[in-house]
């Protein structure tokens, strides 16, 4: 997002307690649950921000407009597409939370399949539901101000973004690779030391290099980093290692264009 957009939208936020709404689309609920998982910060957050539409947490659901809207999940039905357009109208700042809203999520795996055939296989009465051809990110349909990556988002990252918006500053979400986080932590490189397939070199930071710190290769749940050189990465591995790299690219961020492209070059 542009600096101007944030400061323009945030200017009003300093005069009163800003309002926030949480909207769910196709998802596992895990990213919005991260808000409630901010246990020791939760009451402080709710004192700084008036959460007036968060159905998973409260029966009080007030109509818009809202200063900040958090969108979780991907668009998979025509009804949800209409709903997203309305959400955009109602929100000063629209922030997507997680891989589903940012790249279509794991459910975008069905994008390569024929959806009518799929629906007919699943439902005795497929006419009861209106599933779209593809599972798509919010940014395909509306302007998005901030996208927080991750499957799930990092809870501290989410709280930081809210804090930045309240202060009228641009959120600082890293775009470099997980490798940098590994180096900062001092974690031994699982690829160099143990030959494990790892998507760290092509995956965006933000998790704190979690998987390598647990002695496994990164599986790409934060989506593509700013530079994705998969040809160089996959050249390091044999057939089985390449298959693991490809499976990672085709999982929780399968719909991210840089991963889609990369999967063709493994």
């Amino acid at each position: 997002m542009t600096r101007r957009a944030v400061s323009r939208s945030s200017r009003g936020l300093r005069d009163r307690r800003p309002t926030l709404a949480v909207f769910k689309f196709a998802s596992c609920d895990g990213c919005q649950l991260s808000i409630l998982d901010a246990e020791d910060q939760l009451l402080a957050v709710t004192e700084a921000i008036d959460i007036i539409n968060f159905p998973e947490a409260s029966s009080r659901i007030l109509p818009g407009p809202y200063d900040i809207g958090l969108v979780e999940g991907s668009v998979t039905t025509s009804h949800d597409l209409e709903r997203l357009l309305e959400v955009r109208e109602q929100c000063g700042l629209l922030v997507t939370i997680g891989a589903c809203a940012m790249s279509g999520g794991i459910q975008a795996l069905r994008n390569a399949r024929d959806v009518d055939e799929l629906a007919a296989m699943v439902y005795p009465n497929p006419e009861y539901f209106d599933v779209l051809e593809e599972s798509t990110p919010a940014s395909r349909h509306v302007r998005v101000d901030v996208e927080i990556p991750g499957c799930p988002v990092n809870r501290r990252g989410l709280v930081d973004v809210l804090g930045a918006l309240l202060a009228g500053r641009r959120p600082a979400l890293p775009t470099h690779s997980v490798c940098i986080e590994c180096k900062i932590r001092g974690t031994t490189c699982v690829m160099v030391a143990k030959g494990q397939p790892c998507l760290g070199p092509v995956t965006r930071a933000g998790c704190g290099a979690l998987c390598p710190s647990y002695a496994r290769g990164c599986y790409g749940c934060f989506g593509p980093a700013d530079v994705v050189n998969v040809a160089s990465l996959s050249a390091q591995f044999d057939t089985e290692g390449k298959a693991t790299i490809k499976a990672g690219l085709q999982s929780f961020n399968v719909g991210a264009p840089a991963f889609e492209e990369a999967a063709r070059h493994v």
Binding site: G30, T46, I61, R110, V122, L210
Partner: protein
């Protein structure tokens, strides 16, 4: 001229996922009662086909951000069953420990933030904090302790990364576990206080006998252990699930409903689990239940909040016992080579029995998957409760009636995201 009263909630709050409620009263008589699921399906069982068998725990955890451990445990158990592997006691104990974390986290979330507001007349746990700050903070600390177990053993609270077919990627250190024990010592009092506190709530007096189904084991309160038993005599191996139960398609919901083939509806979850396993719950939890006046098997769905509190205390004690007796496994995981065949795995998610069945090929590719989450097993029972509650409260004004109906749905802590995302493919694509 007939008079129709309709209670309608288009988007249920304080549940996981998207569901709605509709109840009709025609001339003072009960009409249709529907608890519907409109969350869009995500076709997980279709994606799993063609993936490596080792990917199942990471992929299936994404069905539910609320109970990812349950999905990981049912799936690894099923995959190890296909491949004929037993991970052995020390690794199994660590799996029980991370599952304790999920019980504490999930139950504390449901009790304090989602369900108690119904009993005390608040819109949310956060709003409740204005009048009961210390209580809400106690709940959040308890929830944090559960999450801390998952974070230490799994790497993160939601979609942990450390669980794999065959065990874990990395073992916790003694220091990690000692840190958890310190927190759990503190949580013990908070969990005991939670049982006392919820037992003093005004619990509606509603009785509706139902067949309870849960895993049951003679020695331990089950997470992944034991046979599937019921309060009316079912006693089967996990692999026999499809012989006794069947999933049915209901038009109004984007989910299948499970029933017992011979006699229909049943209920899973804390009340069922406690009814069938109270003899092996941690003694501290058994005493707390007795002091709270909780009798196993009493078919009042509104007592589920007390059972959740008792199970939270059990999970705290169980976690401490596991840490106390912990002997590190030789390796973080044992190798699992794929074997062509079909395997079954069941575990007791916080919301009830979660059954997985997979077929895999000799090269390790998943050929088929069946996943039956707790909420799709409870859906008919939820609707039956709603009828019971409606009949007993027809004289109440609409707003009050709606309130108690929503409260009745939350007795089950329904996870609609889970229920929707398992839709069976009826046709084999070859």
């Amino acid at each position: 001229m007939s008079e129709t009263r309709t209670i309608e909630v288009g988007y249920l709050a304080r549940v996981e996922g998207e569901g709605s409620l509709r109840a009709e009263v025609i001339d003072g008589e009960l009409g249709n009662v529907e608890f519907s699921i409109f969350e869009p399906p995500r076709f997980f069982e279709a994606f799993l086909r063609g993936r490596r068998f080792t990917e199942a725990p990471d992929i299936t955890s994404r069905i539910c951000g609320i109970c990812p451990i349950a999905y990981q445990m049912s799936s690894v158990t099923a995959m190890e069953d296909v491949c004929g592997v037993d991970v052995g006691d020390p690794l199994h104990e660590l799996r029980r420990l991370i599952y304790c974390g999920e019980y504490i986290e999930s139950h504390a979330l449901h009790i304090y933030l989602l369900h108690v507001p119904d009993f005390l007349g608040y819109e949310s746990g956060i709003a409740m904090a204005a009048d009961h700050r210390a209580v809400v903070e106690r709940g959040l600390r308890l929830k944090q302790t559960g999450n801390e177990i998952i974070r230490v053993l799994g790497g993160r609270e939601i979609h942990p990364v450390n669980v794999r077919v065959g065990g874990f990627w990395r073992l916790p250190t003694r220091k990690d576990l000692d840190g958890l024990a310190t927190e759990l010592d503190r949580a013990r009092d908070e969990a005991a206080e939670t049982v006392r506190w919820v037992s003093q709530l005004n619990i509606p007096d509603v009785t509706r006998p139902v067949e309870f189904v849960a895993l049951s084991d003679p020695d331990r309160y089950p997470f992944t252990e034991g046979r599937i038993r019921s309060s009316r005599g079912i006693d089967i191996d996990v692999s026999e699930w499809n012989e006794v139960f069947v999933e049915q398609h209901v038009e109004r919901s984007n989910a299948l409903h499970a029933v017992i083939r011979e006699r229909g509806m049943y209920a899973v979850g804390p009340t069922a689990r406690f009814a069938l396993n109270h003899e092996v719950i941690q003694p501290v939890a058994a005493r707390a239940a007795a002091e709270a006046g909780l009798e196993p098997g009493v078919p009042n769905p509104f007592q589920s909040i007390i059972v959740r509190a008792v199970e939270t205390l059990h999970a705290v004690e169980e976690a401490l016992a596991i840490i106390d007796a912990y002997e590190p496994p030789v390796e973080a995981s044992i190798p699992v080579d794929p074997v062509a065949g079909v395997g079954h795995g069941a575990s007791e998610a916080p919301r009830g029995l979660l059954y997985h069945r997979y077929g895999i090929r000799a090269d390790g590719e998943i050929a088929e998957a069946q996943i039956v989450p707790p909420t799709s097993q409870n859906q008919l029972s939820i609707e039956a409760d709603l009828r019971e509650v409606l009949v007993a409260n027809l004289d109440k004004p609409d707003a009050e009636l709606q309130w108690i109906l929503e409260q009745a749905i939350r007795n089950y802590d329904p996870c609609i995201s889970c229920a929707t995302h398992f839709l069976r493919l009826e046709i084999d694509r070859g």
